[in-house]
């Protein structure tokens, strides 16, 4: 495999990123109907996957973790409503939400980071939080559009890195000190 400096790699990545993002923005509305359109969600999963190097070996972990994220997102969204419906519950709406998040975060993180972290691929909590954030952004609506946008965002990151590696090679880790 060829090697290049980090500066060359980043230059190539930047140039490849632009047309791929353009293609994503063109294709997404063609495959997702207007009522499900949440094209912006792709730009949530993209940096989450980019920041760990967008390695193809990790794609399936991110992909399946996203589906588990929908469960937690809607548990976060709907739980405060369940608590508020308890008779005699007279805590403010925002504090009810805060208490629910406080309680649910523990089983959420323990399950995915400890209990099933090594035995399943459902162990990428940043991606699950990305799904939670985007679900909050859509008010829990449009799950199919959201799942497609999140997946396509990850695919853009994956193709960017793979294409850059193919064109200029992998960046060398040992860099001369910059003046």
């Amino acid at each position: 495999m060829k090697e290049c400096t980090m500066k060359t790699w980043m230059t190539a990545l930047s140039l490849i990123f632009c047309p791929l993002t353009f293609i994503y923005l063109v294709i997404y509305p063609l495959i997702i109907p207007g009522s499900q359109n949440v094209v912006w969600a792709g730009f949530v999963s993209m940096p989450i996957y980019f920041i760990v190097g967008a390695k193809k070996e990790d794609f399936h972990r991110f992909f399946y973790s996203m589906f588990a994220g929908f469960f937690w997102a809607h548990l976060f969204l709907q739980g405060p409503g369940w608590l508020s419906s308890i008779s005699g519950w007279n805590i403010s709406q925002s504090m009810t939400m805060d208490l629910w998040v406080l309680v649910i975060c523990a089983p959420f993180l323990l399950l995915h980071l400890v209990w099933i972290a090594n035995s399943t691929w459902l162990n990428v909590c940043p991606m699950m939080f990305g799904t939670v954030a985007t679900s909050f952004g859509t008010g829990g609506q449009r799950p199919f559009g959201l799942a497609t946008a999140l997946t396509m965002g990850m695919l853009v990151a994956l193709v960017c890195v793979e294409l850059t590696n193919a064109v200029v090679g992998k960046p060398t880790l040992a860099q001369p000190a910059q003046k």
Partner: protein, 57 residues
């Protein structure tokens, strides 16, 4: 002839692969999502889980 199994061999028989386990976990997540998110989306996730469970190595 009966041959006693070593602890390692017994473990290999019991444990499922990571892929199959993922599929197995996605099914209850999908069923829960049928009620929490959307019936069709939950069915979709459960079917994805079933496919992963069946086809994962």
């Amino acid at each position: 002839m009966n041959r006693s199994r070593s602890p390692t061999e017994a473990k290999e028989v019991r444990e499922m692969s990571v892929g199959k386990n993922t599929g197995l976990w996605l099914i209850p997540f999908g069923v829960a999502e049928m009620f929490l998110v959307n019936l069709y989306f939950g069915i979709f996730v459960a079917v994805v889980g079933l496919v992963v469970l069946v086809f994962a190595k």
